[in-house]
């Protein structure tokens, strides 16, 4: 049994694309999962927003309103202030998309798309774009460029401070991507490794393998619940960090 091959098969992306003549359509397991998550999110958003008189419709509406109120009062307004309400739709979408993407990995046969650096990199680039947009919208282009140099800096330090601050912003965006990617990838590798312990010990002795199955499965169940917590936590942290960075840019003066 090739352990590394088994882990790679479950974690890495697979090309399921079709080739039409000389054109290759790169459909992969991750893009399919992302499409599925997007469709589910669209249906959920429609269900939450459509007004109705039935009890279920009213319950769903209340749930949607509570969610938006939580995002506004719990994350965006404390970090950004009243100016952040203009960006509330982005934060609401970001949180739900990351949460559903994380949770999709816990469903059998589905992939954790947030364990792919390209996906988290794309999300971080969107957040980076929002940070720059919020800065330009609040201070204007020249004001945003000036905000990279802290107030009271001597003129001869400006050529040094400006690149430092620009690189710090790039690092923040990179950190957003790496944090989510690393947490989701490591969680799934731990889950797989715990499961594979049974087969590794089973290769030495079948009885020992059966004996190892009980503690391994106990740990597996514990880790699955931990992954469920991490799915919520990482979606929250990504959204909160984005709102903090937007707040730092908006209140830079």
């Amino acid at each position: 049994m090739d352990i590394s091959h088994t882990i790679a098969h479950h974690i890495l992306d697979h090309d399921l694309g079709v080739t039409l003549g000389s054109f290759h359509l790169p459909i992969t397991a991750h893009t399919l999962t992302m499409l599925g998550v997007s469709i589910v999110l669209f249906v959920v958003a429609v269900l939450l927003s459509v007004r109705g008189k039935s009890l279920i419709a009213r319950l769903l509406n209340t749930l949607g309103e509570e969610y938006v109120a939580f995002m506004r009062d719990g994350i965006v307004v404390p970090a950004v202030g009243k100016e952040g309400i203009a960006f509330l739709p982005y934060f609401c979408t970001l949180f739900l998309f990351i949460l559903f993407s994380n949770l999709a990995g816990l469903i059998p046969q589905m992939k954790t798309i947030t364990s792919n650096i390209s996906v988290t990199g794309g999300l971080a680039l969107c957040s980076g774009g929002l940070i720059v947009y919020a800065g330009i919208k609040t201070h204007g282009l020249w004001g945003f460029i000036k905000s990279f140099v802290p107030g009271g800096t001597p003129w001869w330090l400006i050529p040094l401070m400006f690149p430092l601050e620009v690189i710090s912003l790039i690092i923040r965006v990179c950190v957003l991507a790496i944090r989510l990617f690393a947490n989701m990838l490591s969680g799934h590798m731990v889950l797989l490794s715990l499961l594979l312990i049974i087969f590794i010990i089973g290769q030495m002795s079948k009885m020992a393998g059966v004996g190892a199955a009980f503690p391994a499965m106990g740990l597996e169940i514990f880790m699955t619940f931990l992954e469920l917590l991490v799915a919520f936590l990482q979606a929250y942290v990504f959204t909160l960090l984005t709102s903090i960075y937007v707040g730092l840019v908006v209140h830079s003066h």
Partner: protein, 79 residues
């Protein structure tokens, strides 16, 4: 409150500092390694990049610490 004087936002930012530190050093070293390969100056650009990355990492940490100190002081003044 147990998190006092820092808010939840501050705690999340503090936990990110370690990753930002590592990222700054890795970015500087990577840029130096790339310059070395392009110009054939191995290992000088990489060493320079490592030092610059480390300096940037320290700058990020000190700036964040100053910001948190200011927030702590303003929270104390409010009390």
């Amino acid at each position: 409150m147990a998190l006092s004087p820092f808010s939840m936002q501050d705690h999340i930012t503090i936990t990110t500092l370690g990753l930002e530190f590592a990222m700054a050093v890795a970015l500087g070293t990577g840029a130096g390694f790339w310059i070395d390969r392009k110009l054939g100056t191995t290992p000088w650009a990489m060493i320079g990049g490592l030092l610059l990355g480390f300096a940037l990492a320290m700058y990020i940490v000190i700036k964040e610490a100053n910001r948190l100190k200011k927030e702590e002081n303003s929270a104390k003044d409010k009390k």
